[in-house]
Symmetry: none
Subunit: 417 residues, 2 copies
């Protein structure tokens, strides 16, 4: 007798996406607000844990609050090298319903397919929801997976003070998710993360599946320029030390010189910019802004950082201002596991789905897990490339195809062991 095939229950996946997406709904601005370790995010965690228990998974929570649902293997030794899928369920302000949640709930859908077929996998399957991926309240982002992969001490992470003055460890205990498992205790044999693209490339090229073989390096800096406030009407230009102009010159330089040097790969963004005292007739004494530099190649990323640093030296001297830079985040580019990427591509090909190899422009938990296990990602299109926005959208059919490819890859990995 042939074994039953695990079949995906697409309707259930979509229903769970809607149900989880309703938690933290913001009627005023649209979307949902489920920032890490808030009451709303606790409600999302509680729902996820309930769904894991309904699938009879063993639920484990580690010291940084990462949640794992374990479908045990036929034989106890199957736990030695489990397959892990996952992502996160925390959100930014006024987020879409799919960012993160799609990868976690598609993981549950894969497990459900095994359960409904009455199959036990050859190796354990673990569905992970990592804490504080978005980093809205506590920096850095991707903290749960970073700690899990050994890149940050768990005690240091628990002592993180948030933008609202709270201590992460206190909030984690308050919502009941300060687990006792050591981060990293379950070492997967492979990690697969399904995610919406959050960019416009797949949609623009008419592809259904992105085979994500690498992830851009990211350099985040905060730059503070101190000049001298003075009267806009009485201070000759040659006597000005205008922090606002210096900041603007830097923003323009990033686009016109740094990006222009490698326009196909280097990205530069100044997303936050503030001046003080912010009055119409006062020359700004202070400007604070952020610089987000990305490139999939470490050498080019370093070159961009160097160009910026050199410019700041010249600018400070030319304008008579002082400039301080603070590195907020620095991740080298990640090259994902080639064999796992090949499995994803093969799965898309078997289904006849238009696909492409690509790099991920955004950061994901997979880049942290890649430190401890062969990892790769599957992308599905995002309408208009819109992300971190209530208008984030992927068509249900595309969501179903992505989950199907995930299930196919999981089966392939478990067969191929």
């Amino acid at each position: 007798m042939a074994l039953p095939e695990p079949l995906l229950d697409t309707a259930k996946l979509l229903e769970q996406l809607r149900e989880l997406g309703a938690i933290g709904h913001d009627a005023a601005q649209g979307g949902r607000i489920r920032i890490a370790l808030t009451d709303e995010e606790k409600a999302g965690r509680d729902l996820l844990v309930r769904w894991m228990r309904e699938l009879d998974l063993e639920v484990r929570v580690d010291q940084i609050g990462n949640i794992f649902g374990v479908l045990h293997a036929e034989h106890p030794e199957g736990m030695a090298q489990p397959l892990m899928m996952g992502s996160h369920i925390d959100t930014v302000r006024n987020a879409g319903a799919l960012d993160g949640c799609y990868g976690v709930l598609a993981g549950l859908a894969v497990v459900r397919a095994y359960r409904q077929a009455g199959l036990r996998p050859a190796r354990a399957i673990v569905v992970a929801a990592f804490s504080n991926e978005e980093g809205v309240r506590y920096q850095p982002d991707m903290m749960g997976s970073l700690v899990y992969a050994g890149g940050m001490d768990v005690q240091a992470a628990l002592h993180t003070v948030g933008t609202d003055g709270t201590r992460l460890g206190d909030e984690l205990a308050r919502i009941g998710y300060a687990g006792d498992m050591l981060p990293g205790a379950i070492v997967p044999r492979e990690y697969i993360e399904l995610h919406i693209e959050q960019g416009p490339v797949l949609e623009a090229e008419g592809k259904s599946i992105g085979v994500v073989e690498s992830l851009q390096g990211i350099s985040w800096q905060k730059i503070t320029i101190n000049g001298v406030a003075n009267h806009a009407g009485t201070t000759p230009t040659r006597l000005r030390h205008d922090a606002g102009y210096a900041a603007a010159a830097c923003v323009a330089f990033l686009r016109e010189q740094v990006v222009a040097a490698a326009p196909d790969t280097t990205l530069a963004t100044v997303g936050s910019l503030r001046v003080e005292p912010d009055l119409i007739n006062v020359i700004p004494r202070k400007a604070t802004f952020t610089v987000d530099l990305r490139d999939p190649d470490e050498q080019r990323l370093q070159a961009a950082e160097r160009r910026l640093a050199d410019f700041l030296v010249t600018l400070a001297e030319r304008e008579g201002v002082t400039i301080e830079t603070e590195q907020l985040v620095r991740f080298e580019p990640v090259v994902f596991d080639a064999a796992l990427a090949a499995r994803i591509q093969a799965a898309a090909e078997r289904r006849g789905l238009p696909h492409r190899r690509m790099t991920s422009g955004a950061g994901h938990d997979a880049q942290m897990l890649a430190r401890i296990a062969p990892s790769a990602m599957i992308f599905v299109p995002s309408r208009g490339g819109i992300s971190h926005n209530p208008r984030e959208h992927t068509h249900d059919d595309q969501l179903a195809l992505g989950a199907q490819v995930l299930l196919d890859v999981v089966q392939d990995c478990l067969r191929g062991q």
Copy 2:
């Protein structure tokens, strides 16, 4: 027998500056708060009027609360073409002691010199303190002199509602300074205003006296750029509509193209700048900033405005953003009376004082009086160019020199009639 010379009592002038400066003192933040028509400003007015009476001046108050102290001439017909000096005694929040008060009290010092020498001037001398020059509570600023010069209807001015919801006319009556003289009733033959520079030029160049021959035109605009918010890591540069970059390009253009076209006269300042949503990894969807353009020449000011407007059209098309501009303030430049400026320069030369011709970057009552009488201003240095701040400072010796030049110019005008 030679006539006695009027001699300046410097000590008395400095003492009165200190005494008036003590009214409204703010122990918490430093400086003084004597905002127009408050109890504190009434106390300042009462003190000024007492000092005018001590000099046996005729005190007159007009319907907008402007105060005039008249030293009558030898012959009644001397009142037909009086000489007027003055400024204002209201302040911003946490002001220095000199802004405005110096011009009024130096006027009293000139009158005192005549009194103490037992001299009657050939023409009447009027010391004026104009209402609400600072415009902190009631807009527009320079209101008392604007009404006096016929630029604003007195009834409209009295109906002005303040930031605290009060009606200007009610407050004026409450503090007892709703006079019955018609604004503009005393038409001076000339108006001279002595003031601290409120800018760094005289100090930087080691000059004691500024011969103010013009007052800059001012153009204030608010510019709003609408782009598209998108993910900093996934949006190729060619697909971006970055409102923040567009704003920065505009700030850089103002300095590098607009100011550079007339570096000695055109000033451009972006004092306020905000981006939305102001997040490190989100391309700004919106940028709002102000542009303060100034030039003492109307043609050049218009040329600067045109260059900016042309650039905005190009920028909007190049970046795929929409740009809205709103004119907030627009004053044409004022050219002061050349003969009066020449008298000021001659007085400085006779005293051997280092001096320079200059334009005023800030607005002053003199620009309003210039509509009805030949007017000019005398500036003394401001330490560090600091103004509207408790740290505003001019050395006593400099204050004495400025008052001496004022006295010299008054004598010259009265002799020269």
